[in-house]
Every structure is written in C-alpha cells, then in structure tokens.
C-alpha cells in the first residue's frame, strides 16, 4: 500500500480482499495526447477541471474523439454551452453499440444540431504548443481545437490482479464467479474491473457501467457479510441521448449475434410514442432481433424522440425472462393516450420479426 500523501509504503493485512479498482479511459499512445486541454471525462476531479477550464479559458471550439455514450453526452453539453463542436468517429456511424441502421439516426441528429460530424476518420495525433493541443490531426485533415475530449471507451484496472496471478477474462477484466469471487482464495472483485455473465450470449463479457457495478458491489457485500448471494448476470442494457434524440439498446446487436454464429430475424418499425393526435407525440424507431429457429428474443434497439428510449426496459425484462417473440405479443402493457398507443412499439416490432422469421 502506497500512501500518496506521505509517499510512504506499508503492508496491510487482510482476511478478505475486495478489488473494486474500476476502469480507466482508453488513451491511445498518440503524439501530444498528454496536452493539458485534452480531457477524458471520467471522474469528479477531471470533470471539475473541465468545467473550470470552460469558465476560465472560454474555449470556442471543441473536438470530441469517439461517438459513443460519453461522446454524445459531451457533444450535447458543449453544444448547449455555445461551443463549435466537431466529432470524429472511426466508423461510418456513431453509437457503434447500435446496429448501423439505428446508429445512423444519431448521425443525423448530430448534423441537424450543427455538430461537425466527421465519420470514417481516424485520429493520428495532436499538434501542440507549450503543453496545449492546438489541433487534431486525422488521416484526412487537421482540425484546429481549443479543447479536446476523449471518448474512446474504458479498460479495466486489472493490473494489480494480474500481477497477483489472478486469472483475467474478456478484455483483461478480472474473472469472477456469480458470487464475485476471483479464482484466488479470499480475493473478490466487483464493478468496472470485473467481468459479468451475459444472459443472452451465455458468455462472460466486460461491460463497464455503474448499474452493473452497484449490483456486483451489493452481491460481494452480501457474501462478505455472511449472506450468500449470486449475481444472475447482465443483458447489455444501456441508454443515452443527444439533445432531443434518445437511444437505448439491450441484448445483442447484429454484429454480436453474427459472432455467435446464430441465424436471426429482424423486425423494424417506425411508430410514435403516443397516439399521433396527442400533444407530445414523438417518432420512435424500434428494432427487434430474434433467433430464427426458436424465435428467442436476442436484442432490441430504440432510437426516437422524447419518451422513447426508457421503453427499452420492457425488452430488458423480457430478455432476463428468456422470452420468445410469442411471449411478447400479448403482454398486458399499460395504455392510455397520454402515455402510449394501444400497441406498444416493441410489440409491433416483435410481430414484424416473427413475420420475417
């Protein structure tokens, strides 16, 4: 144990040890990446630093690298503060956890709000002067920037476990069982540093989300406190928004289904969150993916206006329960015009998938 205040080191004995070391932003080893105005918005400290820099230095332009959850949310925040925002995305669509046809809708939302979205473009380095980045160099051009945000995902902090000889799982996350035990006696792991079991693919995965971290922490705490508990697993649910466009996903996307070698059917619909005559009705697109042979539900994606994305929770619950498309068709879901249409958009999309299966 190293005390960072006094720079002294000492040994701390334990009976039980819980590794909850989290994850850290991925920072590619590029020229100039350590410049002071390149931020990864990862914790309270660097979030506060960024907010102070926005107030004190009044940057006019920002480049966001990566169009994932963090990228979209920072694009919204900086756009609303009046900055000129450029977003660089390596692939053709932002939100690569969605299928391209769904993620493409976020591309359009970004462009609609004046974000300078550059797709199929890779960052190669940063031009910098006196410790400050002044431009982002991509494989296609050089983009001047007062402020740069990194949104390239995270990697688990598992070096300590690795050095201790504790086996690792997917993406170097710490391998744990359902009780959050590592393979080393009396050492446990939970949160963004640890793997989870995916209930749809039936495989270990690494998904760094606060929802999962809280649940794994609770399971570890129950077991360490003498109340045996097991974490059933995750279905890969996530949600975000950019301005008035919401998106959410649960289960597996097409790329993940293909990686498992499964044959699948697609149901895709355009509907409205509320009856069209009702004030506040907004468009919603729903995509349902199901296994061809069994009609087992594999995944659902939603993109739409206000009131769209949180509907993913019906699908997440269905995935936990191992529903088939037929199980979705006659669900007794709530209906009254201020809240929904008679047929829930997920049910309509499930019906389409069944027809296409």
């Amino acid at each position: 144990m190293k005390d960072l205040t006094s720079a002294t080191e000492r040994w701390e004995p334990y009976d039980q040890l819980l590794l909850a070391t989290g994850a850290r932003p991925f920072r590619p080893p590029l020229e100039g990446i350590d410049s002071r105005n390149i931020y990864d918005v990862h914790n309270l400290v660097n979030g506060t630093q960024l907010k102070r820099a926005l107030a004190e230095q009044q940057p006019r332009s920002a480049v966001i690298i990566g169009g994932g959850y963090l990228g979209l949310e920072m694009a919204e925040a900086l756009h609303m503060r009046g900055l000129n925002v450029t977003m660089i995305q390596r692939s053709a669509q932002v939100m690569s956890t969605l299928d391209p046809d769904m993620g493409g809708r976020l591309n359009r939302a970004l462009l609609h709000h004046g974000i300078d979205l550059r797709v199929n473009e890779t960052v190669q380095g940063f031009e910098h002067k006196a410790g400050l980045a002044v431009a982002v160099a991509t494989d296609k051009q050089t983009i001047p920037a007062d402020l740069i945000i990194l949104g390239l995902g995270v990697v688990p902090n598992s070096q300590l476990a690795k050095d201790a000889g504790i086996p690792l799982g997917p993406k170097e996350s710490i391998k744990v069982n359902a009780m959050q035990q590592t393979e080393t006696a009396n050492i446990w792991a939970a949160g963004d540093c640890a793997q989870s079991f995916h209930l749809v693919s039936r495989r270990p995965v690494h998904i760094a989300l606060g929802t999962i971290a809280n649940k794994q922490g609770r399971i570890a705490g129950m077991n360490l406190g003498g109340r045996p508990a097991a974490f059933p697993g995750v279905v890969g649910t996530a949600i975000t928004k950019f301005m008035d466009t919401e998106c959410a996903r649960t289960g597996l996307n097409e790329r993940e289904i293909e990686a498992l070698g499964l044959e699948y059917a697609v149901g895709m619909i355009e509907a409205h969150t509320l009856p069209r005559y009702y004030p506040g009705s907004a468009p919603i697109s729903v995509k349902v993916l199901a296994e061809k042979s069994s009609a087992r539900l594999l995944g659902v994606q939603i993109v739409g206006g206000p009131g769209s994305a949180k509907r993913i929770d019906t699908a997440a619950t269905a995935l936990h329960a191992g529903f088939s498309l037929e199980d979705l068709l006659y669900l007794d879901l709530s209906y009254a015009p201020p809240f929904a249409g008679v047929w829930d958009p997920i049910v309509i999309a499930a019906r389409m998938a069944l027809k296409n299966g």
Binding site: M1, D15, L18, V45, G191, N214, G217, G225
Partner: protein
Amino acid sequence: MLIVIGGDAAGMTAASLVRRLQPETGITVFERGPYTSFAA
C-alpha cells in the same frame, strides 16, 4: 479484516453492506482519489 481497494460504486456499496450485516468486522477502504462514491 476486510480490505477494499477502490472507493466508488462497487467498493462503497460492498463496504457499507458489510458494515450493516457485520457491525464488528474491521473494514478499510483505499481510494486513490480525493472522493468516494463519485460516480454512483
């Protein structure tokens, strides 16, 4: 003696639950930064 490395969502959730379930257990949480439970 329980040692927890990391004082954010998972670490603090586990530590506070063990405290509730076993008031007598010694618990030490190590956190690199200045805040705990900062993300959740």
